[in-house]
Symmetry: C3
Subunit: 413 residues, 3 copies
């Protein structure tokens, strides 16, 4: 591998890493924008905690766990060969490492940014009532152990990879992994006070800062340039540029489809649905962004957008309270995108569809069990939900002793 | 063309594409920041719609229309050779395509981001009273047809290109194209209620969120690194870095000049003028960013900044209501920047100045006619302006059924 | 030097330049977020002014002053060889310039973005009571003269460089240079009304928009990818990627440490401390980001985070009023990071520690004298502090005649 090409590849991967890092700002703004001002500090705190602890844990444990030298029975990575955190392998800074795509350090940082994303997805779903300390403990286990183990099955060269399961940038490995935990967490936590009324109607709890939510979505879309573009693992011109095209077209189609479906159903130009449709399109294309054509991307994105509208309604009818629509965006569209690899594009076929289904079910089962175990234990011991008084008055004052906007006069609700 | 250099060029162009994409967040924040909170959702909706429909339309129609194989009489691109949207030409992913600057996919995506920009410029000018559905129809025609046709005249290799008209990154082809439509739209729409009073005075309608407007300008400036830097169409070190220097110095000079001129005229440190001066400097340098020296850039930017202050005042005196100053920024400074190519830098001379004027007039005439036709038909049929009641109460509640900031207490006006 | 590698290096440096540019948005949002809404326009104005005047001054004076051909007695750069601003040297656009790292234009722009940063740091510390005109004059001298002179001692090849002082990306040369001026300015200005009460207690003056402050910190962290990553001065894969890893781990550790220390001391999850801890970690790693290992970075960042909590408290006890914590972040952690080069990593040793101390003291002394002189003269002549009435009512209305959020109902205080 030529030295200059190695340098180019590494530059591209570092930029993609920076863009994926920025997604944590996108998630932060989206989550606070779609919830109430009284819980803003709390949500921001969770998000800066997640990226910080995520980076440190990935250095200490996660990276070696996810990309092990060997597997025990092909399932549990043999972590013990690398117990003491990061240490650069002999060829780690040369083109011999990672097929000349990047250095060991870039590898670690890019993957570390992905790891923290999984917990961020959960953060939105549990907003406005989760106990901060418990969420932090959950994050430590989920980012430090669960994500790297399921990740190792495919990207670490484990059994799902051997099987032929395909997940380019993580519709399943990142988004569904976060989505399943969001689902379990929302179910164990229960709905926010006032969401599901005794008469069976659903109370609207509007987000308090839609401009910041919209900015968050734009930033997430930008971040996806790195999330998907970097998953090529090199700067290969044809592949990276195709990936950016399919990613952007799926996002655009997802937004347009969600807006049109919600216009037909609710006779209103619904900005929240447009935004979540954009995200749904992005999650949906993620599993196959490198193997789809233009039309495939538009169709996959459009279906993802429609699924958002249906999914948000369905979650509501299940009496699950997901303030930001994380389950519809990351779980429903994550599953859809993973299946789409068997339906559209270069790998389409029944056999591949079967493999995709196996991956979805296996990882889903592991994530459900793991998050149910972690959150269940926390619920039985320290508790996972704040007191009713704290929820009513806001987590910001109770857990953080500060207001997000002290100079503004606020409505009480 | 060597393969590695092709990869570098393509990486640079993909990054520039991402930066131009981010300009849509910049425009969104600027536009909502400089208008009232009651129309915030509406403006955000328009902006996410524009980038989404813009991408899809550019895939289906615009790209082939703008970069055709042949022209009918040198003016109308012969679109019919490419009726079915994107399909990669034989050399589209190799260094044979686009002189080794980038792949076909990068080409499409970079140009697609530009296309959507033209409509975004209009969005700001028509804010707070345009009917959403009509604006969406206008956008479809303007992004899908008008922009690609005028673009084909120069960048597609049409008659203005043959003539020797120079427009490096689009002072005319992007900014004036948006600016002319903004002018026509503002004229056809009429002023917002309360802007021009019966006694002849001008009512101030202050923007509701200046921090977000300022953030928008910073993001737009960042985006211009890609807008101008990417218009080199390769990563050529000397050219790209010169372009970034002239771009940044013109921006800085534009801001300083606008602030100083407005300080002299109005005895106040006017942040809005500073911000629009920065943008004016950016638009002004765009036509010749690759052929100007340091001093040229500072002079062009400074004049652009001064033109902003004069332009905003002039538009007001014409009783045209442009809430964000889009006409001064994109049209006045777009024209100025295009003329500046004949006055400063490598191409300066009377002959070039004449060619620049021809380009300005020809594209201006086409855009005026096109936008007058589209908007005129819409005005006569479905209407382009919301009802007085809706304007007074805000478009957010009427068209979207939601508030941008429901937790905050708001002033009524 | 091969041409393609030169192109890659230059691309990386241009991207890093763009990221450092974006730090000015980060600082803007952080500073307004941590202060009161009545001074928001004023702070934004200062920040757009700093980047604008900074760019222009660096073109006219600073760049040649900082990177001179020769020195007078090794201390004062012989500026007169280059009195007329920028002019490209013969090899300025080829790989012969700057060891093939980048072109002359990229060199100027990257360094220019750094120069403006020093004044931005001061901006936060003096917020809410400094007289705008005086601050602008101070900025002109500090960015135009002081920063380039101290910078020339090390990065321009002056006496500190000859001595063996090490400061990779500017813990001292950028952050402390800003931090010392912040210290002097805060002392000369005095505290805001209501900060230190007559009974000896400290009045809390909470920031008005914590979401924007948090966004600012995320953006600053992103900017540090360019600030430190670009300070490699090429795209060298091993070095740049190591620098990004140490930078991110130090940031994460700094945030976590500050949060934990403040949790122990104040029994609250303090988001402000977390945010300033992240920044402290970033400033702390900056002097040695390229010569530290993973563990070093985590330890340096953690100590920086702890120093933030102690530093903020210490500044308060000195009755110095620093609204955003700039002294703790940029001065305390800047000194810490510079010393850390003698304690951890490749250069660790008593001799190096001594050299680091000499650099800190020499630059500190020069900055203290320079800022005391500039600000002292301004204080004796035009004054540096606004009237009590203006401070109470807010600088926005008095100096700018506009509100940051006119549509929102605000608390008076």
């Amino acid at each position: 591998m030529e030295n200059t090409l190695f340098t180019v590849n590494n530059v591209w991967m570092m930029i993609c890493t920076a863009l994926v890092f920025l997604m944590h700002l996108g998630f932060s703004l989206l989550e606070i924008g779609l919830t109430r001002q009284k819980n803003t500090i709390n949500i921001l705190f969770k998000n800066v905690f997640i990226i910080s602890i995520g980076m440190v844990l990935y250095a200490l444990v996660g990276f070696n766990l996810m990309y092990p030298g060997t597997f025990i029975n092909g399932v549990l990575p043999d972590y013990f060969i690398n117990l003491f955190g990061l240490s650069v392998p002999e060829n780690g800074l040369t083109a011999e490492y990672a097929s000349g795509g990047y250095t060991y350090w870039t590898d670690f940082l890019f993957q570390g940014m992905f790891a923290a994303t999984a917990a961020t997805i959960v953060s939105g779903a549990v907003a406005e009532r989760v106990k901060l300390g418990s969420f932090m403990i959950f994050t430590i286990f989920y980012v430090g152990l669960v994500y790297p183990i399921t990740g190792s099955w495919k990207w670490g060269g484990g059994w799902l990879n051997d099987l032929g399961f395909y997940d380019f940038a993580g519709s399943t490995l990142v988004h569904s992994v976060g989505g399943w935990a969001a689902l379990i967490a929302v179910w164990l936590l229960g709905a926010r006070i006032g969401k599901f009324k005794k008469d069976g109607t659903i109370g609207a709890i509007p987000g308090h800062n839609i401009p910041l939510a919209t900015a968050g979505v734009f930033i997430l879309w930008l971040g996806w340039f790195g999330f998907n573009g970097g998953s090529v693992l090199s700067a290969d011109p044809g592949k990276t540029s195709l990936v950016l095209v399919t990613t952007c077209l799926a996002a655009a189609s997802g937004g347009l489809a969600a807006f049109l479906v919600s216009l037909l159903r609710h006779k209103q130009y619904d900005l929240s649905m447009f935004l979540n449709g954009l995200l749904g399109g992005l999650v949906g294309i993620t599993a196959g962004a490198d193997i789809m054509g233009v039309t495939d991307a538009i169709v996959i994105g459009s279906i993802a957008g429609a699924l958002i509208v249906l999914g948000v309604g369905f979650v509501d009818r299940l009496k699950l309270d997901d303030p930001v629509g994380a389950i519809a965006v990351h779980l429903v569209c994550g599953v859809w995108g993973t299946l789409a690899v068997g339906i559209f594009g270069d790998l389409a076929g029944w056999e591949q569809l079967g493999k995709q289904a196996i991956g979805i079910v296996a990882i889903g089962a592991f994530c459900i069990i793991a998050s149910f175990t972690i959150l269940g234990i926390l619920k039985k011991t320290v508790g996972i939900r704040v007191s009713e008084e704290e929820e009513q008055e806001g987590l910001d004052i109770h857990e953080h002793g500060m207001d997000a906007y002290p100079d503004f006069r606020l409505n009480q609700h």
